[in-house]
């Protein structure tokens, strides 16, 4: 009797596999499926024609209409950024390149344009020196979007559960269990860290859109200027106060900037 019930438990456990696969599939569908509405796409193509005719102002307006209708894509932000760039608004361009980066981080055109735009920032880009492992970590995970990271986490999580379950029922697998689990858990931890870091800066990054913005010691117009920021510079928002933002430059210098001078994304 016990033997038979053991067999049942095995088959029940193995049911987990198709279940997990279905679940992951549903998740990926949820994340992949694009709701393409013909009207929205039409507007996009329309804007593209404006761009090709050199009417950047109109192109910007049309692209933003698409965005305002509640839809977005990496390509859309990229085209919008290009239009701003052509119009000469470096700040807005960099802002939109950054937004596109969050959706299509592996796009080479985007990378090239983004780097070019950044190289035009007055006063150069202040870069903090980081440790090699930090650089490696950033470089690897900058290739993933937030959604991809979340999805990978779900897959790895399912993988961990599957490995445990399968190894319970198929004893020969048990000797690989420790290795497989440690690899999966390390991956899980890394992906989790990456996701956490990306999520924690959402809405806390900002690009200076004014030609020149003064970072002051106190949130008043009369306060002493600590340092100057030029259009296109990226900063991290520490905290808001009235119409001021406390920001931090990449070299860890902080100051107060008028909220109209920057745009948070």
């Amino acid at each position: 009797m016990t033997y038979r019930s053991f067999q049942t438990s095995k088959s029940v456990s193995l049911l987990f596999l198709p279940l997990a696969v279905t679940g992951i599939f549903l998740l990926s569908c949820d994340y992949c499926l694009a709701e393409s509405i013909p009207q929205t796409s039409a507007k996009f193509y329309h804007a593209n024609t404006y761009y090709s005719e050199g009417e950047y102002e109109k192109a910007i307006k049309t692209y933003e209409e698409v965005l305002n209708s509640g839809f977005g894509s990496g390509n859309l932000y990229y085209n919008l950024a290009n239009s701003y760039f052509k119009k000469g608004e470096l700040g807005e361009a960099i802002l939109n390149y950054e937004k596109a980066m969050r959706l299509i981080p592996r796009d080479s055109d985007l990378k090239s344009n983004y780097e070019y735009a950044k190289s035009l920032i007055k006063g150069g880009v202040v870069e903090a020196q980081a440790q090699w492992h930090r650089i490696a970590f950033d470089r690897i995970f900058s290739l993933f979007t937030i959604d991809e990271l979340a999805f990978s986490l779900a897959v790895i999580f399912t993988g961990i559960l599957l490995v445990i379950l399968v190894s319970l029922h198929i004893p020969p697998i048990r000797k690989y269990r420790v290795v497989a689990l440690s690899v999966l858990i390390i991956m899980f931890a890394l992906f989790f860290m990456a996701l956490f870091e990306k999520v924690s800066v959402v809405g806390k990054e900002a690009v200076i859109i004014a030609q020149k913005a003064d970072a002051k010691f106190e949130p008043f117009d009369s306060a002493t200027t600590h340092f100057t920021l030029y259009e296109g510079t990226e900063v991290a928002v520490v905290s808001p106060k009235d119409s001021w933002y406390k920001i931090e430059r990449s070299d860890k210098k902080t100051g107060w900037v008028k909220s109209s001078d920057l745009e948070v994304f």
Binding site: T2, Y3, F6, S9, S13, F16, G23, I24, L26, L27, D30, Y31, L33, A34, E35, S36, I37, T40, S41, F44, N48, V66, G70, F71, G72, S73, G74, N75, L76, Y78, N79, N82, F85, L103, I104, D109, S112, N113, Y116, A117, K118, S119, I121, G124, V125, V126, E127, I146, A150, F151, A154, F157, L161, I164, L165, L168, L195, V199, D251, K252
Partner: protein, 632 residues
């Protein structure tokens, strides 16, 4: 000269083997050869006379070579009679070699001289008229002795010595010399050193670089060896010269050498024995020399070490008088040049001073030239690049204020071993203009924490990449995947299912391995089944079956619960265990009643009435319920 003959015979050999290709190459070479010959001028021609040995015994023969270097068109010179010798003309031997694109050719007319009497004879000088010019060779002296020398058969193989070459003779035919360019150098002065290997009519292979004692000297690696011919006392030698530069690291009487050189001598073996089937070739004796042996007959290479006489070098210390203050040990004959750029800077910006020391000497001893004063500058360590004939120092100076007007003069001092005097060369001062820095006060950051990288220079014609044609994956903005309920729900459900499955698995595993657990777990179910059965019998008024069933159920339940063998259970044993577990007396009494009633009903023909049966049934249920609740 004999080598040529060998090469020639080799040529013929290959020809007889009938390779058309080689024939063509030979033809081609001859064509070039004659074309080149016709282009020659008499002025490039050298004439020399050599003999193959200076001492000859009666009965032996002597070879006289009249060589013309630089042409091949000289016909046999008439040398007439030579006193004390019988002259026989053997024939001409031509030779052409192309080394590094340089063509050298020669013709040698070979004569055999057979001594007729003992004594010392002078041969030559010989004069030859060629293209209207007269060439005269040097005179040679040959001693003829009467059989005192160990007589040996005439050389059989061309250019190869016999196995039995006496050491004495070998000494004249292969030797090593060591020469220094200067025997009284100064400390650290770079002097050339040359080690020459002289070979006369010997087959020498596998010549290695020489080794020599050089205590007190610093030696660089040998350069590519040079090969040439040199005649000493009428004997032509093939010379291999190894050169390098050395310098003494301390003063005093230092000894260089003896130099030693390892090589292999190729010697003809005497073929005394006949080949037998047991010869080593038969038994797989294909050692490294076999091909060589088979091709040229029986030759043997044996290792040989040539040793040179030592050389004494008297190294002198540098003189004290006239030594400049900033002399740092440079020795040689140098020139010095310095340049500074840019000349217009802001304070805090770097100026590079490039100082070039060129000339001949020991560059290892050359250290950076000295700035007269470093006032007003921040000075970094100079970077040195050392070449073959120059050494360049690049020094970075940072003017610290706008008051700095010039870079002070730069002095380089060295000792010239040729003149034996010190010299100081000066460059500058260089006038520069230093502007005030942009950001007011000047700070020179030693090691910047956050390296400020200025953006790269704008590339010419650079622009952004064109827009995307398609909208890509358009989707609702706002919510990320991790912010959706479904994402978290998926994890939750997966986790719940996982925990359930693991628990279920653990339970099954326990049932399989833990019998006591399994029995206890199954006891209530079995008891319930028994109770239902008993109820059935009660309703059907089947007294016997009823009591059997009650007994069996209760005994079975107790056995499972207390993990006892079902067959050996007695009411005493049960009561004892339950008593130890603090079970109410009432329950124990009921249990006793049930068992005794059962026994009575089963073994006595006594019919118990319906009421009694119902009491027993209810008691049984109470006992089981109680024990279940108590979790005994």
């Amino acid at each position: 000269m004999r080598k040529e003959q060998r090469a020639k015979s080799k040529d013929q050999n290959t020809m007889t083997h009938g390779t058309w290709r080689i024939a063509f190459i030979v033809f081609f070479l001859f064509t070039i050869h004659y074309t080149l010959c016709s282009m020659l001028y008499a002025s490039d021609i050298q004439f020399e006379a050599t003999v193959d040995r200076e001492t000859v015994s009666l009965g032996e023969s002597l070879q006289l070579n009249l060589s013309f270097h630089g042409t091949q068109n000289v016909s046999r010179p008439e040398i007439g009679e030579i006193e004390g010798f019988q002259v026989r003309y053997l024939g001409p031997s031509t030779r052409m070699s192309i080394v590094n694109g340089k063509v050298s050719k020669s013709i040698t007319h070979i004569y055999t001289l057979i001594p007729l009497k003992t004594g010392s004879f002078e041969i030559g000088p010989f004069s030859v008229v060629f293209k209207g010019k007269t060439f005269t060779s040097q005179a040679l002296t040959v001693e003829v002795v009467s059989g005192a020398l160990p007589s040996k058969p005439p050389t059989q193989g061309p250019g190869v010595a016999q196995e039995t070459i006496p050491k004495e003779q070998l000494k004249d035919r292969i030797f090593l010399t060591i020469e220094a360019g200067k025997l009284q150098p100064y400390v650290n002065e770079s002097i050339p050193l040359s080690i020459k290997l002289y070979i006369n009519r010997l087959g020498v292979r596998d010549i290695q670089y020489p080794k020599f004692e050089h205590d007190g000297f610093s030696v660089k690696g040998f350069r590519q060896p040079k090969q040439f011919r040199h005649t000493i006392g009428g004997i032509a030698y093939d010379v291999i010269e190894f050169t390098t530069n050395i310098f003494a690291v301390r003063a005093g009487e230092l000894s260089l050498g003896p130099a030693q050189l390892d090589c292999n001598l190729v010697v003809r073996k005497r073929q005394r024995r006949r080949r037998t089937p047991f010869d080593d070739n038969f038994f797989g004796g294909f050692s490294g020399n076999d091909i060589f042996n088979d091709f040229f007959g029986r030759y043997k290479a044996y290792p040989f070490q040539v040793t040179s006489p030592p050389l004494t070098v008297n190294v002198q210390p540098l003189p004290h008088e006239g030594k400049p203050a900033n002399f740092k040990g440079a020795i040689g004959d140098f020139r010095f040049k310095a340049e500074a750029s840019p000349k217009e800077v802001k304070a805090g910006d770097p100026i590079t001073v490039s100082m070039t020391v060129s000339g001949a000497g020991n560059f290892d001893t050359v250290s950076s030239p000295v700035l007269d004063s470093k006032e007003g500058f921040k000075v970094y360590e100079p970077q040195a690049k050392q070449g073959q004939v120059s050494k360049v120092f690049e020094q970075v100076l940072i003017p610290q204020s706008a008051k700095v007007k010039e870079i002070p003069k730069i002095t380089f001092s060295f000792f010239n071993p040729q003149t034996g005097k010190y010299r100081s060369l000066t460059q500058g001062p260089f006038s520069i203009s230093v502007a005030k820095p942009e950001g007011g006060e000047l700070k020179i950051v030693e090691i910047p924490q956050a390296v400020t990288k200025t953006a790269k220079e704008e590339l010419l014609g650079r622009d952004i990449v064109y827009i995307k044609e398609s909208p890509g994956k358009l989707k609702r903005t706002g919510k990320y995947l991790y912010q959706r309920v479904g994402f978290w729900l998926y994890h939750l459900i997966a986790l719940i299912i996982f925990i359930t499955l693991v628990t279920f698995y653990k339970h099954q595993e326990k049932l399989k391995t833990d019998e006591r657990y399994a029995r206890r777990l199954q006891a209530p179910a079995k008891a319930r089944k028994g109770i239902r059965e008993a109820q059935g019998f009660l309703a059907k008024e089947k007294s016997g079956e009823f009591f059997d069933c009650v007994h069996k159920t209760l005994i079975g339940y107790m056995a499972d619960k207390l993990h006892l063998p079902a067959g050996g259970i007695t009411i005493e044993a049960v009561k004892e265990i339950l008593g130890a577990k603090n079970i109410d007396g009432e329950i124990l009494d009921k249990l006793t009643n049930i068992f005794s009633a059962c026994d009575m009903a089963r073994y006595a023909p006594l019919e118990l009435d319906r009421h009694k049966r119902e009491t027993i049934f209810n008691d049984m249920r109470k006992v089981i319920d109680f024990l279940e609740r108590k979790k005994v």
